[in-house]
């Protein structure tokens, strides 16, 4: 067994059941360390890390968790992840956390933050308002101030001040993590036969949970092995996938999509963990640098509305850069941002003559036949056209 295979077999099962249990175990061996849960999509993890705390991605409840309480708080027309996150809290599966942070990604997630505050008074519940004005001269100042406010809040949980040097140190850790993830994605874009999407997904997802240093070590080792691979490409169509930036599909679905006849060259799974196109600069004011990176060096996403350029342009650019043959939209059911984006993507893709397939998923889904057969039909129509 290669190291990579070991990693996959070590983590696949926890990821398919209760990923957070990995940190419940960890916490038992590190009782004094503080853990802060991070709701998707993007969070400035550096600020948590700089306080000696561990950011832990709380990214839904998967398909094993039974929703027994949360569905009386959030209606049937709200996406799964909002309900499963609340359920995790209500059944005590978030008890190991000292705090949790939500973001201005959509209305349900925002209200969830308030509901958490009321139902779990023990937790520090933070909420980051990310700016949606990307053209103002004052946005960087705003976000810098927002991060400073957050820092103060984290300092209280950490029980110690967070210095600029602490933050610089954390920036370099996360720069390294993001750089390695970019490399992972570059391999898939270039030689998808050498790294399956589900492998790359697992390698990325564990980084949302484990301490960053541990994740970096795993990535470095795995990348070394992946670079040695030399598989023969199969007769599959190449696609880029978009729409799964927040709630996450089950591993089996991700696997099934590829097995149905395509290579996914790029995707937006867990995109918040690969949010920057370049390193965050270390010189100067580190908080400002982090804020400025959000405005000027972050990737596009369904929850960031940048009026400088249409979203569909980014998607089409990515399609062209990777040399894909089609686009696959994989949107979480009831995810308002993803569903709205689709209306724009659809028109832009049709205008540009780019074939696309639209699918919806839910994290709690169990049956994948329908999705799989839709992909198969789509692939066949492309291969034999």
């Amino acid at each position: 067994m290669t190291n990579l295979e070991k990693v996959i077999s070590r983590y696949r099962e926890p990821l398919e059941t209760y990923p957070l249990d990995l940190m419940v175990e960890w916490k038992k061996n590190h009782p004094s360390r503080k853990l802060i849960g991070c709701y998707p999509v993007y969070t400035p993890a550096e600020l948590i890390h700089a306080g000696g705390m561990i950011p832990v991605g709380v990214i839904g409840g998967g398909n094993r968790l039974e929703i027994a309480h949360a569905d009386s708080r959030f209606q049937s027309f709200v996406c799964s992840i909002v309900k499963s996150t609340l359920e995790l809290g209500m059944v005590g599966r978030l008890d190991f956390l000292d705090g949790i942070v939500f973001h201005s990604i959509c209305d349900p997630a925002r209200n969830l933050g308030s509901v958490f505050k009321r139902n779990f008074p023990r937790l520090m519940v933070e909420y980051i308002h990310f700016p949606q004005n990307m053209t103002s001269r004052h946005t960087v100042d705003y976000l810098t101030a927002e991060y400073r406010r957050l820092k103060t809040s984290y300092e209280q949980v950490a029980g110690r001040p967070i210095t600029d040097d602490d933050i610089r140190q954390s920036l370099s850790v996360y720069n390294q993590q993001r750089k390695l993830l970019r490399e992972l994605y570059a391999i898939r874009a270039e030689k998808p036969q050498n790294l399956s999407t589900v492998e790359s997904y697992i390698l990325t997802r564990i980084g949302t949970i484990l301490p960053a240093e541990e994740h970096i070590a795993i990535l470095e080792e795995s990348l070394g092995e992946i670079r040695q691979r030399n598989e023969k490409p199969k007769d599959r169509i190449k696609v880029v996938l978009e729409g799964s930036f927040c709630e996450q599909p089950p591993l089996e679905l991700i696997e099934g999509l590829e097995a149905a006849g395509c290579y996914i060259l790029d995707d937006d799974f867990l995109v918040g963990y690969r949010f920057f196109t370049q390193d965050v600069p270390l010189e100067g004011d580190p908080i400002r640098n982090l804020a400025e990176s959000y405005i000027n060096r972050s990737v596009f996403s369904g929850v960031k509305h940048d009026s400088r350029e249409p979203k569909s342009k980014h998607l089409i650019d990515r399609f062209k850069e990777t040399g894909a043959a089609a686009v696959m939209i994989l949107a979480a059911k009831f995810c308002e941002p993803a569903l709205f984006d689709y209306a724009l993507y659809k028109r832009a893709l049709e205008t540009a003559g780019i074939p696309h397939l639209y699918l919806e998923f839910e994290e709690k889904m169990w049956i994948f036949d329908k999705a799989r057969s839709e992909v198969e039909t789509f692939v066949e129509s492309m291969l034999f056209d």
């Binding site: 209606q75 959509c106 209305d107 925002r110 909420y127 004005n133 705003y142 009026s307 724009l344």
Partner: protein
């Protein structure tokens, strides 16, 4: 007994209604003139915490796609537009306000109430609702229009008030909006005129807040949900104008008169409730009748504070025009307040407006309002022991209004309240 009675007459036509028709008619004519004859420049904006004062200061025309959507629903012509939007890729699960408006926008923009002009500026005042950002993003793409996202930080500090930095950030952006309007109109901002408009807005808000306080009376002189609707359009479209001010003066006088006479919207006020959530526009009258037959009057509503929350003491200040507009956008409207602040707002209504029930109207389209209302119900029933009813339909899409089901739920609720009232000996 009330439960067997037919719907009570709820229509009250006073001077204010005639005036409302007149001034709103003029407003819609102005829209049509701009659309058809190029007379005037339109600024698209959103209702929540709108900075309409700035738009008036440049003699530009405020156009609210939300009012378009609302009017289409009220006039029962929204569905074909919604379906048109769904045909081109919008989901069943997207906010139907957006779908109705986009469906209309992509056609000739003619509606039963006005022809909607194309925008000179798409001013996305992002106050609370995340869907706003996408709605205006889509409109901008559809007409290649100039867009400015005026980013208003959500209230997220435990104190419930915006930080100095947040206020500063909004003020700086308002200055950028001024630059854009100056460029688009070729005119410099006339600060004296602007201050005057802000002063008028302050007076208007004060009148509105007095009108809202009147529903503390027993009986309440009007229904703070169904009748407030008449007053909301002038509040958003004409706040800061003489017309708007005159309307609210008339409304206050009439309502005070009703208080003196001891009359209300129904022959008998038997229940006083607070209502949370937007109304079902396509079936407003039907919905109203479901409450009227029980003698139930809404004495306060969160929906009437979407555009601004004046009844807790806020007033625009002409001496600090930009700061007070920023305060309005940040703090003094329901949409930019967090969900728990909304609980507090409702609690205050229940106590100060002497209500004996809470009705939560959960609408699928608007997750800003609805997501998590089950927790709200939990809070009011379990923690505050307040009879609370949660019902579901939609703000815009007529396909989600299930009349029989709503009627059953509402009847059962008031029946049980009635029973409690009897047990307690006649007082609710």
């Amino acid at each position: 007994m009330a439960q067997t009675g037919t719907a009570e007459k709820t229509q009250y036509q006073g001077q204010m209604h005639l005036l409302q028709k007149e001034i709103m008619g003029r407003y819609f004519e102005r829209l049509t003139r701009a659309a058809e004859q190029g007379d005037g420049k339109a600024v698209y904006m959103l209702i929540s915490g709108n900075p309409v004062e700035l738009v008036h200061a440049f003699d530009m025309i405020p156009v609210y796609p939300e009012i378009n959507a609302l009017q289409l629903a009220v006039k029962k012509v929204a569905l074909p537009f919604i379906q048109k939007a769904e045909e081109i890729g919008y989901s069943m699960d997207n906010c139907a306000y957006v779908k109705a408006d986009v469906g209309m926008f992509l056609g000739d923009r003619k509606t039963p109430f006005a022809t909607i002009p194309l925008p000179s500026l798409i001013l996305c005042n992002y106050v609370g609702c995340n869907v706003y950002l996408q709605w205006f993003e889509h409109l901008a793409e559809n007409c290649n229009g100039e867009i400015y996202n005026l980013d208003v930080p959500f209230l997220r500090e435990p104190s419930g008030v915006p930080s100095q930095q947040d206020v500063e950030y909004v003020v700086r952006q308002l200055e950028e909006v001024i630059e854009a309007c100056e460029r688009l109109t070729g005119k410099k901002l006339d600060w004296a005129k602007f201050r005057k408009i802000v002063a008028l807005s302050g007076e208007t808000g004060e009148l509105w807040s007095k009108i809202k306080a009147l529903t503390k009376n027993v009986p309440s002189p009007y229904d703070a949900y169904f009748d407030s609707v008449t007053m909301m359009a002038p509040l958003y479209c004409l706040r800061g104008t003489e017309d708007g001010l005159r309307f609210f003066e008339t409304a206050l006088t009439e309502m005070e008169e009703k208080v003196r006479m001891g009359t209300g919207p129904l022959p008998e006020e038997r229940f006083r409730f607070v209502i949370e959530g937007p109304p079902p526009w396509p079936y407003l009258k039907t919905f109203r009748d479901m409450f009227s037959k029980w003698g139930a009057v809404a004495v306060a509503s969160t929906y009437s504070t979407v555009g601004g929350l004046w009844e807790f003491g806020f007033k625009h200040d002409a001496n600090r025009p930009l700061e007070s507009i920023a305060q309005h956008m940040l703090q003094w409207n329901v949409t930019n307040r967090n969900f728990l602040q909304r609980y507090e707002q409702i609690k205050r209504y229940v106590n100060e407006w002497s209500a004996n029930a809470l009705v939560i109207h959960s609408v699928k389209s608007c997750r800003l309002f609805s997501a998590g209302q089950g927790d709200m119900r939990e809070y009011f029933t379990k923690e505050l022991d307040l009879p609370t009813l949660l019902i579901e339909s939609d703000i815009e899409d007529p396909r989600y209004f299930s009349e029989a089901q709503l009627k059953n739920r509402i009847d059962a609720f008031f029946e049980s309240l009635e029973h409690k009232k009897l047990v307690r000996g006649g007082t609710a």
